[in-house]
Every structure is written in structure tokens, then in C-alpha cells.
Symmetry: C2
Subunit: 198 residues, 2 copies
């Protein structure tokens, strides 16, 4: 193929993005070649910007461009309850389902012995410090309901059991609007085990 070097370089860089293969990268590169220069330089600058301006909040470890982050600054939120999540993106999903209510703590990962990620690699110690410092009354552990997420949840519960604190875990079950026919047996079992009174 006779791609000029700068295009080849852009295609290579774009195809390193997740879910973008060489064909899509090529299509994007040609789109970018033919589109307005102002947009391309804006895109280029916004890439540099996230690396320069985005930091972690010193309280909850959420990604933010101001410290503390807007959620930690928000005095209308319930200050006694902290929702513990794996990643900032998970926090944002919960926040959009339940806006303006919880405070959060972002672990930045889950315990995963196979990949060599132990409890010290995720921000569990910082969670403990925060619980003691801020007088938190409840933590809701909203890690994913898979092996790593469950392991992490149990580890957190154990680590914090000496503190006077309610520790809860988000429910697993059949998604709203889901069809029982298509749900896996483990989820069905969980939805039966966690049945509630009507």
C-alpha cells in the first residue's frame, strides 16, 4: 500500500485504540485528512489536555480537574454514606442513576491475584483512613459482581469490621426489563437467594 508516512503513522496510532482495527483506523485517518483543520487541532489539543489537566481527587480519588472534586465539594450530599466503586466510570454510571445523592470512593482496580494486584494496589487503606477521619456510617460496596469484585468486597468488609460501620453490597439479580429465559443460572440463583418480601 502506498500510504504517505504521516498517514501510516496516524493509522498505526489510531489502531492501538481499543475496538479499533486497522480498517476502521484507515477510515478515520482519511476522514481526518479531509475534515476541517480546526477540528483536527481541537481534537489533538483535547488529547493533550486530559493528560495535563486531569488529576485524582485527594479525598475520593475520582478523576477531576479541580481538587477536591465537585462531588466531594457538594455539601448537599449525604456525608455519612460512601459508595465504593472500582473505577471513575462506574461512579459516573451510579451517579447518573442516582444523581446528587452519594459520596464515592474510587478504588482504581480490584484485587486480582492472577494479575498480581493485591490489596495495597487498590485504594483500600485510603478508604479506611477516610472512614475514620470523616465519621462515615455506611459504605456500599459497588464493585462488579464477579470473582475479583466479590473478593475485593469481602476483603474490604474484613478490613473495616473493627470500625463501627454498616457495610452493604449492591444487589445482583435479573436486570429490570430482562427475560428470565435468557438469564444465566448464577444470576437466577442470586435473585432467588436475595428475594425480598412483597
Amino acid at each position: 500500500m502506498y500510504y504517505p508516512a504521516p498517514i501510516e503513522r496516524l493509522i498505526e496510532n489510531l489502531s492501538k485504540l481499543p475496538g479499533i482495527g486497522r480498517k476502521t483506523a484507515t477510515r478515520l485517518a482519511f476522514y481526518l485528512l479531509n475534515t476541517k483543520e480546526s477540528y483536527v487541532s481541537e481534537l489533538s489539543n483535547s488529547l493533550i489536555d486530559i493528560k495535563e489537566k486531569i488529576k485524582l481527587c485527594s479525598t475520593c480519588f475520582n478523576i477531576t480537574d479541580v481538587d477536591p472534586c465537585p462531588i466531594c465539594r457538594d455539601e448537599k450530599r449525604n456525608s455519612a454514606t460512601v459508595c465504593v466503586v472500582e473505577e471513575s466510570s462506574h461512579m459516573m454510571v451510579i451517579e447518573s442513576a442516582n444523581p446528587g445523592y452519594y459520596r464515592y470512593h474510587i478504588l482504581h482496580g480490584v484485587i486480582n491475584p492472577i494479575e498480581g494486584i493485591g490489596p495495597d494496589e487498590v485504594r483500600i487503606k485510603e478508604l479506611r483512613d477516610r472512614v475514620q477521619r470523616e465519621g462515615i456510617r455506611e459504605i456500599i460496596i459497588a464493585t462488579n459482581p464477579n470473582i475479583e469484585g466479590n473478593t475485593t468486597a469481602h476483603y474490604i468488609a474484613e478490613t473495616l469490621q473493627d470500625l463501627d460501620l454498616k457495610i452493604t453490597r449492591i444487589a445482583s439479580g435479573i436486570p429490570i426489563g430482562g427475560d428470565i429465559v435468557y438469564i444465566d443460572p448464577l444470576t437466577i440463583k442470586s435473585s432467588l437467594d436475595n428475594r425480598r418480601n412483597l
Copy 2:
């Protein structure tokens, strides 16, 4: 949602790319946030680079970072035959199927009266000049076999008919490995009309 402004800006810019919606853009933005800074700045620079370094070849109007482009410089190619294509990307597909053989002429568009693109908006005049200047003996019109591509092909043939020149059109028919059951009637008709002796 509580996306910090720089992330929001990157998501907005990414979701302007073709085939990338807000959800994919968000996923990409978070990937970029968590990946190595060196890659992000490399991607950012390569975006700027294509706008700064890529020009059109003054002979064939192919995109290139040197003028004339490597294909026009390549003296091993058949200098009497020029393959006329709509876009540089089409040229590259033909080149990869048939490497090192043809010279090309890139129209940068097709005649499309509905969108207000007339013969003067695509590089047909330049093709005529080139045929006369370079003593070209055959042009193969490889525009797409749709209404605009066919219109453009016929217009080119008419425009150049006073020159002593063989003008050909690429064949339409059933793709190699295709199944007749799934081919549309117009393609079937074309493959019958253009049947050849065995």
C-alpha cells in the same frame, strides 16, 4: 454526569468521528486517560502532522508528503495507461490488488448534481491536460458502479472522445467467491450483459 471539563471536551471531539457515538467516545476517552502519556502525545502529534504534511501530488492529485508522489516517480510503471479513481483510498485498494502496475488520476469526487458537484468540481480538466501532455494511450475509469460513478465515467468518456485514446471501464459482476442467491438483480444483469467467452 460529572465528567471533568477536559474529559467532556475530548468525548465531544471523539464523538464527531464517523461511526463513533457518545458511548464509544467515552470508552476511548477513559482508555486514553489511563494509558501512557507518550502514546497520547504521539497520537496528538500525528493528527496535527497529517494536516501539515499531506498535500496533493501536482500530477495525479494523490495525497502525498512528497511531490511528485512515489507512484508518479516510479518509472517502472506502465506510463501509457492511467487508472481514474474517485478518491485516494480507492487508488490504494486497486494498488494493493495490482501493485506497481498502473499510474493513477484521482478525481477527488464524482459528478453529483443533487449535491451541486459539477464536472468542474472534480479534476476532469486536469485529466484531459495530462492525457495530452503525457501521451497517455488508455484510461481505465474505475469510479464506483453507481449512478454518480457511471455519470462521471460517461462524462469523462465524452470529454476525451476527440483525443486518440482508448477509454475503458472496470467490469461489474458477481464478486469472486460470491453466491448468486444473494446478489442483487442489477449486478446479475450486468454480469450477464458482460459475459465473456470461455
